[in-house]
Each structure stands twice: as structure tokens, then as C-alpha cells.
């Protein structure tokens, strides 16, 4: 860093190191500390809970990694998963991004080779923090490439603790993003490096970095197939590619034709022809359907309200919502103010590298505004640009301070010779508070940075380190109460249901059921088949006797619902229910959203819509809940998540029976009874 505490420099001087070596030593030790900090700040959840996989998607990744370690790469590649999307199944090998799993297995193998008998779960849990640490290193080099090593160091520190990044890379969050952000930043860094040096080796590294990134985060060649020429989203990229070819071709032609006039004519003809051919090809492609139109996700990037009206399944995911200002503040804190300052510095010193980072920063900021989850992509750019702002400001201020100090020193040694003032002294006199101002500003900067550090630690500890599988609450005496209901239910499924049992639940829990419960699910978080999900949504929102038809046709043995009425856990199925209705209604028009609302209001108490009170989801959640006393001084059947007494206390089930309910009622599992007559026959035969 540009500023170095005096005592430290004295200490280093006592080692008899040259200034260069001192600087190197400080830089390396700061980097090491940042590396370690980035790792340990992500371990809150491991220390507070345990070394476990978090959330939903990581469970799928963990399951596939386990499969990869056990069966090897070829089996993994050809894996057809019968345990999800029953009865369709899923071609896992061809529909996932293998970068993450391959990376984890590679680390696992290396550790094993080095004779560390680790379990693959530990590797998976710690992959994200490890890559976050590596990202800080890349950020340092990137910052160094764009600006200077001071900016690099600041960038490394900022990104190490930035909540926007931590949210996806805490220990246990074993998701593609954890590796992909590293790969992304690495690719960009190597790209800029290649542009700056013109070296072929760097550009090759950039290509490999890019390959790694897409293999971890979206569309490696096998998966993309011909999408880059077929899908609408990739057209722009392809256009740029062709433009570059055309540009260099013209350059070459210009070189060959020494005559300018001739070249002008040639240029006119070729450009007209190329545009015409391109336009016709595009038009034909569009019309014939060879080039697919833009997909919903892409539209929703351009128009944030698009998904809400057209594709409920995308809109139903909370991380696809447009970002609120508060979450920008939450994830970036002071970086939000430093970002424009950094842009100013970038524009002041325009180069290929700074233009690149400015472009990256601005576009990703736009996308971050459209979708909450894309804050993650913007984070590296924001950190880098803010680092430039911090570093440049601090450097300017310290230069001011140091130069002044010297003048003062010489002045004091001069003694009586004050009248012979140098130009510097003149400058000082013109701005009498410059030194004080600089000191004040420096203090201000450090205050801000320390606030940032506090904020980041607080956010990491409070908001981003909960595994969301285990819920924690404060008890009446301030003690920590743990609700481990999810695992209770999944383990019950794993142990006490037939091996081939099919479990129907809303898609959120699909990955967890297959990974922890080891049972076949109807739909899961992969959401590749909207109709299938809509069928489940329809079953959940129908009356029981209609639903049982769907349930039987899907061969379902168990139905699982998540219910927070006893504990006050608000992200349960009743609160997600409207999305099921919407998604179900999107495919099956029999399901109409207004049937479940009263005057446009969603309620579960006595005033609720009759269809609501009798649909399967309501029945499964509130079965026998009417007899339950949840809170002192409230009537039985008081739903704590919604704060109302439920409207239908006399829930009778005809085709389903309660198979298991967890100790806090968060997960309820129902068994589908065999059809009545056959049941009777069976009894006759064996009883």
C-alpha cells in the first residue's frame, strides 16, 4: 500500500532490507493475510453449525460430485438419473456444468495423493472459500494490471470481504458461482494482460480460463452445441465475431490494394453485400425457426417486469427478482459510493485495461439492477473500480502529506533562512489548511474502510452464514434453539420408505430429497420441464379427489409439504402456494388464481376462498392442526407464520394419510393410500 506505518518501516529498516525488498515483503505478507482472511471469514457457518452443504442447489452438486468420485468420469458423463423428474428422468451428464465437480474431485484426488485422508464432503464444503481466496489473488494481479500494485492490494482486500461475493461463497455453499467468479475474474485478468503485452501465451491462458469458466457456469461446448449459431442470445456475440473477421479482411485488402479509390469501391460493394446476406440469413433463420427467439430469462434481463407477466416459474424464484436499493447497500456498502469515484479515475487515465473494466463495471451494474443474483457478477468489477478510487485517493493524499513534511523539516534545519522561500513554500502559503485537510480526509477514508470491514463481517455472520437446512431461533431465555426438521424428515424418508418410493413435493425441495433422502422425486430445482412442474402445482391446488388422480398417474407414494405454522417459519409452502397456482394455471387453465383469493387478497383464515380452504395443499399443511395449541392465549389452530386462526379446522383426508411429521411440524409427509377396492381385496387375501 502506498501508506506504510512509520514503526513498521523502522522495523523493516532494522532488518537491513532495501526499499524494494521491504515493499515486496509488505506486499506479500498483506496478500497472505488477505488470502487467509478471505478463507476464514467464510467459516462462520462451519463454526456455528457444522461442516455441511447449504441451501438447495449445492445438494445436487454434492450428489453429483459423490457420484463422480465413486464411479469415475465416464460414468458421470453418461449418467442418466432415474431418481429425479420421475417418470422422465434426467440426463445429468449432458445437462450440468461439470467444472465445479471436476474441480472438487481434482482437489480431493490431490489431497488423497498427498496422503490426507479427507472426505469428499469436506472438500466440497471448503471449495468455495478456497476459490474465494484465490479470487483475492487474481483481484490483486488484475488491479495491478489496470492501475498499480496499491490498487491491486486494495482490490484484494475489498473483494475478500465484500458481502456480494461472500453471499455465494461461504463454506458449504457448494455452487457453481463459487468457482465461476474466480474463473471469470481470472479470464478477464489474463485477457487484459494479453491485450497489454500482446503475448500469445497470455491469450492462450485467457482462452483456457474462458473454457474453464463456461464449463463451470454455463454452456461448455458439449452443452452449448450449436446454440451460438442458433439461439437469439448468441447472435450479438457472433455478429462481433464476424465484424472482426471483416475488419481484418478489409485491412488486409487495403494493404494489398495500394490504390485508395479502388479500395473505397471494394469497401462499398463488400459491406453492402455482407449486410444484405447477413440480414437475409437472419431473417430466414428467424422465420424458419432455425434461429430460436430470445428466451424468457433473456427477456427478463432486458425488461425486469417481463418474467412477472409471462413466466411465473422464473419470477417465483426470489433471486430472480429486480434488486432493491437496500440490497445494493447491503451487498456493497461504501463500494456503492466509491464506484463512481473509481470510474472518474478510470476516465482520467484511459487505457485498454481501464476501458475494459469500466465496460465490465457498467454493464454488470445494469444487470445487477435487474436480477438480485447478478449482484455477484458485478461484485468483482465494483471492488476493482472502488479499489482504484481508494488507492488513488489515499496515494494523492499521502504524497501531499509527505512532501509537506519534508519542507517543514528543511525549514527547521534552515533556522534563520526563512525568507528565502522555495516555490513549494509559496504553494503552502496559498493553501494553509492543505496538510490538515489531507490528514482529515485520510482519517475519513480509514473510517469509511473500517466501517466497511465491520459491515462486511456483520453481514457475513448474520445474513449469509445460515445453512438454511438447519434453522436457528432464539429461545425464551436467550438460548439458541435449533430446528433440524428438514434433515429429520429426509432421514426418515431415507430409512423408512421403500427404496423405490416416489416423493412428490414442490420443486424447491427436490434436490434435497434426492441428495439427503435418497428417494425419487417428481420435480426438482433443475426446472427444465415447466409442464411437469405445473402438473405438481395443479395437484397441490386441486381438491383432494381431483389431486389423487394426478398423484396416481404420477405413481407417487409420498407427498411432502413444508409447513411453518407451528414455528412461525415463513418460507413454507402456504406462502409459496400462489406461485404453484400461477405456474399450474399457466399450463392448465382449470386452475385460476382468483379462485384462491378473496378480493385480491390471499388469506387462510375463515374469510379465505372456499377453494383455498379445501385444496390439497391447505389440507396437507393444516391436517389436524386445528387441534393444536401453538401459542399461549391463542385459540387452537393459530397459525404463527401468518398470525391468524385457520379457517378450516376439520380437515379430513380420504386418499392420503399422515406418514410422518417432524418434531416442529416443519415437514409433513403423507402416504398415498392404495386404491380402496384393491386395498380391500388385499386384506381379504392376507388378513
Amino acid at each position: 500500500m502506498a501508506t506504510m506505518p512509520a514503526s513498521a518501516s523502522d522495523l523493516l529498516k532494522s532488518f537491513k532490507l532495501k526499499t524494494k525488498q521491504q515493499e515486496l515483503l509488505i506486499r506479500v505478507s498483506i496478500l497472505c493475510l488477505v488470502y487467509i482472511l478471505a478463507f476464514i471469514t467464510r467459516l462462520f457457518s462451519v463454526l456455528r453449525y457444522e461442516s455441511m452443504i447449504h441451501e438447495f442447489d449445492p445438494y445436487f452438486n454434492y450428489r453429483t460430485t459423490l457420484y463422480l468420485t465413486e464411479n469415475g468420469f465416464y460414468d458421470f458423463w453418461n449418467w442418466f438419473d432415474y431418481e429425479s423428474w420421475y417418470p422422465l428422468g434426467r440426463i445429468v451428464g449432458g445437462t450440468l456444468y461439470p467444472g465445479l465437480m471436476v474441480t472438487a474431485v481434482l482437489i480431493y484426488r490431490i489431497l488423497r495423493f498427498l496422503r490426507f485422508a479427507v472426505h469428499i464432503r469436506e472438500v466440497c464444503v471448503l471449495t468455495a472459500p478456497f476459490f474465494a481466496s484465490n479470487t483475492t489473488l487474481v483481484a490483486y494481479f488484475f488491479g495491478k494490471e489496470i492501475w498499480d500494485s496499491g490498487a491491486g492490494l486494495v482490490a484484494a482486500i475489498l473483494i475478500a470481504i465484500c458481502p456480494g461475493y461472500i453471499s455465494r461463497s461461504v463454506a458449504g455453499s457448494y455452487d457453481n458461482e463459487g468457482v465461476a467468479i474466480f474463473a471469470l475474474l481470472f479470464t478477464f485478468y489474463v485477457f487484459v494482460k494479453a491485450v497489454n503485452t500482446g503475448s500469445l501465451a497470455w491469450s492462450l491462458a485467457s482462452a483456457f480460463g474462458y473454457f474453464y469458466m463456461v464449463s463451470a457456469w454455463g454452456g461448455y461446448i458439449r452443452f452449448v452445441g450449436f446454440q451460438h449459431v442458433q439461439s437469439g442470445e448468441h447472435m450479438a456475440a457472433m455478429g462481433v465475431f464476424f465484424l472482426m473477421q471483416v475488419f481484418y479482411f478489409l485491412d488486409w485488402v487495403k494493404h494489398m490494394l495500394s490504390d485508395t479509390k479502388l479500395f473505397q469501391a471494394f469497401l462499398r460493394i463488400t459491406v453492402t453485400c455482407a449486410v444484405a446476406v447477413g440480414g437475409i440469413a437472419l431473417g430466414l433463420g428467424m422465420v424458419s425457426g432455425y434461429i430460436s427467439p430470445w428466451t424468457g430469462r433473456f427477456y427478463s434481463l432486458l425488461d425486469p417486469t417481463y418474467a412477472k407477466d409471462h413466466i411465473p416459474i422464473i419470477a417465483s424464484v426470489s433471486e430472480h427478482q429486480p434488486t432493491a436499493w437496500s440490497s445494493f447497500m447491503f451487498d456493497f456498502h461504501i463500494l456503492l459510493f466509491l464506484f463512481p469515484a473509481g470510474l472518474y479515475f478510470c476516465f482520467k487515465r484511459l487505457s485498454d485495461a481501464t476501458i475494459f473494466i469500466v465496460m465490465y463495471g457498467l454493464t454488470s451494474m445494469y444487470f445487477a439492477g435487474v436480477m438480485v443474483r447478478l449482484i455477484l457478477v458485478a461484485t468483482p468489477a465494483v471492488c476493482l473500480i472502488s479499489a482504484i478510487a481508494v488507492s488513488a485517493t489515499v496515494k494523492n493524499l499521502t504524497v501531499l502529506l509527505r512532501s509537506k513534511n519534508k519542507v517543514v523539516q528543511t525549514g527547521s534545519t534552515k533556522g534563520s533562512g526563512g525568507s528565502k522561500s522555495s516555490s513549494k513554500a509559496l504553494l503552502d502559503q496559498s493553501q494553509p489548511f492543505q496538510k490538515n485537510g489531507a490528514i482529515a480526509l485520510l482519517f475519513g477514508a480509514f473510517y469509511l474502510l473500517s466501517r466497511y470491514a465491520t459491515h462486511c463481517t456483520w453481514v457475513t455472520s448474520e445474513a449469509y452464514s445460515s445453512p438454511s437446512i438447519v434453522l436457528a431461533a432464539r429461545g425464551a431465555h436467550g438460548n439458541r434453539v435449533i430446528f433440524d426438521d428438514y434433515r429429520e424428515a429426509y432421514f426418515w424418508l431415507r430409512q423408512n420408505t421403500p427404496q423405490d418410493a416416489k416423493v412428490m413435493s414442490w420443486w424447491d425441495y427436490g434436490y434435497q430429497i434426492t441428495a439427503m433422502g435418497n428417494r425419487t422425486v417428481i420435480v426438482d430445482n433443475n426446472t427444465w420441464n415447466n409442464t411437469h412442474i405445473a402438473t405438481v402445482g395443479r395437484a397441490m391446488s386441486s381438491y383432494e379427489d381431483e389431486a389423487i388422480e394426478i398423484i396416481r398417474s404420477l405413481d407417487v407414494d409420498y407427498v411432502l409439504v413444508v409447513f411453518g405454522g407451528v414455528t412461525g417459519y415463513s418460507s413454507d409452502d402456504i406462502n409459496k402456494f400462489l406461485w404453484m397456482v400461477r405456474i399450474g394455471g399457466g399450463v392448465f387453465p382449470v386452475i385460476k388464481e382468483p379462485d384462491y383469493l378473496v378480493n385480491g387478497e390471499y388469506r387462510v383464515d375463515k374469510g379465505a376462498a372456499p377453494k383455498m380452504l379445501n385444496c390439497l395443499m391447505y389440507k396437507l399443511c393444516y391436517y389436524r392442526f386445528g387441534e393444536m395449541l401453538t401459542e399461549y392465549g391463542k385459540p387452537p389452530g393459530y397459525d404463527r407464520a401468518r398470525g391468524v386462526e385457520i379457517g378450516n379446522k376439520d380437515v379430513k383426508l380420504e386418499h392420503l394419510e399422515e406418514a410422518f411429521t417432524t418434531s416442529n411440524w416443519i415437514v409433513r409427509i403423507y402416504r398415498v393410500k392404495p386404491p380402496n377396492n384393491r386395498w380391500w381385496l388385499n386384506r381379504y387375501k392376507f388378513g
Partner: protein, 596 residues
């Protein structure tokens, strides 16, 4: 016929079905044998019907100690499986060797303890959450024996006084939870009278279908025990709904047959206890410890109803000195064989003792027959794996929880193996780093960029030298200044002149050294950028040097002419100012060059 020479004088059988044990029947037989034949006899045969023999887990015979005697450790009588001729094939025989042969008319009293597993059959086989669990026990009221029995009685002790039904024979009495059959007198050999008792039992029917215990010895002071349980509730299957509401409201009525927790009595000073399963930690466990034992209470994730399964792992560390001893140059581990869990029937128990890498000469001593083989296990920092002794036993009951010993040779030096491996690993890593930093691994030695880089490195080295020289010049200047100060203090002109002479010589030498460096920089193309600054630096330094000399001469002159101090100061004041300015400039330049 040999066997008829015996007859049992007195026989009381107490079947404890059982105060605490679930799927387990303890049968305790108190036998008094009298030799009725003429020959001396030392073997007594015990007969069990096939059904019982299949389920028999444990059999022990001890000489009878009279009541009121101090209980000192009794030596068990040797019991062996026997296959006597001319006996019904449907019976399984065991022979008990008496301590000394019995002559005619002599008598001897001994106790036989037999433990049967899976002898209680739940009837009905399926119950709902609200039902109570009933089990059926079948046996014979008459003692099945190859010998004639003079007097015999049977008492069946039940856990609860609620009895659904029992076979009523002559002389049947019921006392609370105890059913008494007999006494019967003068029964012929092989007399059999089937009885069945159908009673309520809500005791936990915890059965470990498989238990793998891994005991890992580390000579750094720890014995790590890891136990993997696969548990099932072996009682009546639950059917129909499981209602959490009912279970919450009245767990003892709606869910009476279910068990919610298990207790493990770990050895004292057990530490680092954990309780987890395949999908993570289980937070419902309690640990209490005192100096005699450590009690671990674990709750499965869900209450165990009939037929429900669960699987979990518990692990704990034990201090090494409590379990590892040495004898005859061999070490041996002395630890209990079976699970610390109370009231647990184990269908298949596998005990793996993992010895440290490099152990040899391994042997096992156990007080009952076990299957045994060896494996290797690769753990942290192992090259060829640790030897593992595997012991397997089926049908294990708490009576098997006896100490067993594993003897092995292990050299103390082998302990250093792993730390040394780590140290050498780091060592080689650092060596590799050093080699990397010093080696030139560029592929193309003739490429422009490589050459430019090399030249730049040379230039940097030269600049470093120039800087060194300049700073040495500056120190010389400082020395001169110091000599001037000495002069003003002591007035010793000669010393000052000597200092001046030395400085002159040194500076000349330094400027000589500087020349080739400057010519190199002038000739090198990659130094073009820094050259002006370096040249400026050298020029400024030379100027500074001259000024210092002039000042020095002036001052010395002044002293020689014996001028006043103030006068001299006035003379050099102007020079002094220029000097400071110059020095400042030189310092700035040095710093600037340093930053390149």
C-alpha cells in the same frame, strides 16, 4: 447308557423376560447334579431344542455360590458344544466340564446362564400408534434334559403385570409379574411340556442389525473409537398413521411401544464425543460425565416406532494410557469388545482395531470364539497403510461386553515417521520455490522480449550499484560534516585535515568506480528511459561534493586564521543553504530512481 447315570436333584429355572432387555431372554438355570451311576463322571450335558439353539447368544456355567456368601469372581466352568451319539437330532447339546469328577452319590450345584435373542414374537405383528405391544414367549415348563429330573420348577418373570394370556398347567401360580410353574417331581428324561406366555412389553426393542466398531490407536496419546450403527425397532410393525399431534400430547399412550432415546455408557475420561449420521450432525444428545463413567444419551432424529430404521455414528476419543499396556516387550490394547449402548441386541458386530502404521506380530485374545481376519487402512499420511485386525461375531448381547486384547509390536521410532514426512514435504516445497526463483525457465532464449527483460535486469543491477556508490558518497559527506563539528568542539585542525584527505581519496575511488557503470548505462538501449535521471543524479552529487569541499576548506581556513566562530558561520551560511537544497534534490532523485 452313560447319560442316565445322572439325575438332577433340584432345578429352578428363572426366565427373565426381562426387567430391562428387549428382544432378549435370559434364562438362568440353577442345577444340582447327583451321580446316580457307579462310575465317576465329569461331564454334564445340556440340551436345547433347535428353536432355542438357533437364537442362543450366550451360554455360561458357573459353580453355585450359596446365598449370603461374599461375591468373589467366580471361575466359569468350561462349556463346549457336544455331539453325543444316540441322542435326538433335533436337540443341540453342550457339555459342561465339572471341576472334579463326581463319584456315585456325590452332588454338585452349578448355575447356567443362557441368553437368547429374538425369542419374543410380537403378536399381533402390526399395531397402530395407539395400540400396546404384545409379545409371545414360548418354552417348555418341564426342563428338557437327557437326564431324569427329580425336582424342577420354572418361573417366568415379566416386565409388567399386564399379561394377556398364559398356559395354565397344574401347579401354576402367578405373583404379580411372575408366573411360577412347578415344582414338578420325578420327571423322566426328555420330558417336554410347551407353554406360551402372551404379555405386554413396551420396552425398547432396539436391535442393531449391523454395528461396525473401529478402534484406532494413536501412540500420540489417543484411542479413537468410531461406531456405526444400523438400528431397527424389532418389535411389532407400526401401521397406519403416525400422528405427531397425538405423540406430542401423550407420548406414553400414543407411542408407548416407540423408544425415543438410547443410553451409552462410555468409559471415563472419554472426550471429543460426536453423534452424526450420513447427512450431518444430530443435535439431540446429552453428555454427562463423572470420574467413573461418561454417560451419553442420544436421541435418534425421530422416535423409533415398530419396524422403523435409523443409522448413525457415534465417536469418541479415549486416553491411551487407560487402555494400552506393555508386557514382554509387546504392547497390548485392552478394551471392551461390544457396544457401550445398554439394552442393545446386535445381530452382526464387526470390531476393527486399527494399529499404527508399522505394527507387526499381531495377535488377538478374546474369551469367546470370533471370526478374525486382517486388512489395511490408509489414513492420514500413510504410505502403506495401517494394519487392521477385524473381528466378527454374530448375535451379540451385553454379556459379551468383555475385555479383549490385541497384542502387537511397535517401535517407538516409527512414531516420528509422520512428522518427518510433513517436515520433509515442506522442506521440498521451499526448495522448489527457491529453485524456481533462481532458475531461468524461459523457453526461447533469443526472443526479443526475453532479451529486453534480461537487459532491463542488468540495467537495474547497475542502477542499484550506482545508488550504492552515491549513498556511500553521501556518507562520506556526512563524515566530513562530522569532522567539522569535531573541529569546532576540539579545535584539532590536523585531525580534520586527515579526515579531509581520507575523504578525498575515497571520493576519487568512488568516482572511478562510477565511470564504467555510467558508460554501460549510456550504451544500453533499455536504460534510455532512466539515463537522464541517473546522469542528473550523478551531476548533482558532484556539485554537492564540490560544495562540501569548498565549505570544508573555508571552515578549516577560518580556523587556521583563528577567526571567530560567528564569523566562520557567516562565511559558510550561503554555502550551507545551497548544500541543503542540493542534498534535498539528491535525496529526491535517489527516491525517484528507487521507485522505478
Amino acid at each position: 447308557m452313560k447319560s442316565f447315570r445322572f439325575c438332577f436333584l433340584m432345578l429352578t429355572i428363572a426366565i427373565l423376560a426381562s426387567p430391562a432387555l428387549s428382544d432378549l431372554v435370559l434364562s438362568k438355570v440353577d442345577r444340582r447334579v447327583e451321580n446316580a451311576g457307579p462310575e465317576k463322571e465329569s461331564l454334564v450335558l445340556l440340551a436345547f431344542p433347535e428353536q432355542q439353539a438357533k437364537n442362543m447368544a450366550y451360554l455360561m456355567a458357573t459353580p453355585h455360590e450359596g446365598k449370603g456368601k461374599v461375591k468373589n469372581p467366580v471361575v466359569a466352568l468350561p462349556v463346549e458344544a457336544a455331539n453325543p451319539k444316540d441322542m435326538p437330532a433335533a436337540l443341540t447339546f453342550y457339555s459342561v466340564s465339572l471341576p472334579k469328577g463326581l463319584a456315585e452319590g456325590d452332588s454338585f450345584t452349578f448355575d447356567v446362564l443362557a441368553v437368547f435373542t429374538h425369542a419374543l414374537r410380537p403378536i399381533p405383528e402390526q399395531i397402530t400408534q395407539a395400540d400396546i405391544q404384545l409379545v409371545l414367549y414360548q418354552d417348555s415348563a418341564h426342563y428338557l434334559s437327557p437326564y431324569a429330573v427329580k425336582v424342577q420348577s420354572l418361573s417366568v418373570k415379566l416386565p409388567d403385570s399386564r399379561i394377556e394370556s398364559y398356559t395354565k398347567l397344574e401347579n401354576t401360580k402367578i405373583h404379580g409379574s411372575e408366573i411360577k410353574y412347578g415344582p414338578y417331581e420325578n420327571l423322566p428324561s426328555f420330558s417336554y411340556s410347551p407353554i406360551a406366555v402372551h404379555f405386554e412389553s413396551n420396552l425398547p426393542f432396539a436391535v442393531a442389525q449391523e454395528l461396525v466398531r473401529e478402534i484406532e490407536i494413536s501412540h500420540w496419546g489417543n484411542v479413537q473409537v468410531t461406531e456405526h450403527y444400523k438400528l431397527i425397532h424389532g418389535g411389532a410393525q407400526s401401521k397406519g398413521e403416525f400422528s405427531r399431534l397425538d405423540f406430542l400430547a401423550r407420548p406414553n399412550v400414543r407411542g408407548a411401544s416407540a423408544f425415543r432415546y438410547l443410553v451409552a455408557n462410555l468409559p471415563p475420561r472419554a472426550h471429543s464425543v460426536y453423534y452424526r449420521d450420513e447427512i450431518g450432525n444430530i443435535s439431540t444428545s446429552h453428555l454427562r460425565g463423572d470420574s467413573k463413567k461418561t454417560e451419553l444419551l442420544i436421541e435418534p432424529r425421530y422416535p423409533m416406532f415398530g419396524g422403523w430404521r435409523t443409522a448413525f455414528t457415534i465417536g469418541y476419543g479415549l486416553p491411551l494410557q487407560d487402555f494400552l499396556y506393555e508386557s514382554d516387550g509387546k504392547r497390548f490394547l485392552n478394551i471392551t469388545f461390544s457396544s457401550p449402548m445398554v439394552e442393545l441386541v446386535i445381530d452382526a458386530l464387526i470390531v476393527k482395531v486399527v494399529l499404527p502404521e508399522g505394527s507387526s506380530d499381531i495377535s488377538v485374545a478374546a474369551s469367546f470364539p470370533v471370526e478374525q481376519w486382517q486388512e489395511t487402512k490408509i489414513s492420514h499420511l500413510d504410505i502403506d497403510g495401517r494394519p487392521v485386525v477385524v473381528l466378527k461375531k454374530t448375535n451379540v448381547v451385553p454379556q459379551h461386553n468383555q475385555f479383549f486384547q490385541v497384542y502387537y509390536h511397535f517401535s517407538q521410532l516409527s512414531m516420528l515417521r509422520e512428522p518427518l514426512m510433513l517436515i520433509s514435504g515442506f522442506f521440498f516445497f521451499f526448495v522448489a520455490c527457491i529453485v524456481y526463483m533462481h532458475a531461468d525457465i524461459s523457453i526461447s532464449k533469443s526472443s526479443a522480449s526475453y532479451l529486453a527483460k534480461q537487459q532491463w535486469e542488468e540495467v537495474q543491477a547497475v542502477i542499484q550499484q550506482v545508488q550504492n556508490i552515491i549513498s556511500r558518497c553521501l556518507t562520506t559527506h556526512d563524515n566530513l560534516e562530522a569532522s567539522l563539528r569535531d573541529l569546532s568542539r576540539t579545535g584539532n585542525i590536523q585531525a580534520c585535515k586527515a579526515a579531509r584527505k581520507a575523504a578525498d581519496g575515497l571520493l576519487k575511488e568512488l568516482s572511478k568506480e562510477l565511470k564504467p557503470l555510467l558508460t554501460f548505462l549510456q550504451s544500453s538501449p533499455s536504460a534510455a528511459q532512466v539515463l537522464p535521471k541517473v546522469e542528473e543524479l550523478v551531476a548533482k552529487e558532484r556539485e554537492l561534493q564540490e560544495k562540501v569541499m569548498v565549505k570544508h576548506s573555508t571552515v578549516v581556513d577560518g580556523y587556521e586564521k583563528k577567526l571567530g566562530a560567528r564569523d566562520i558561520e557567516n562565511r559558510v551560511a550561503l554555502q550551507q543553504q545551497k548544500l541543503t537544497a542540493l542534498r534535498q534534490e539528491v535525496d529526491d532523485l535517489l527516491e525517484f530512481i528507487d521507485e522505478i
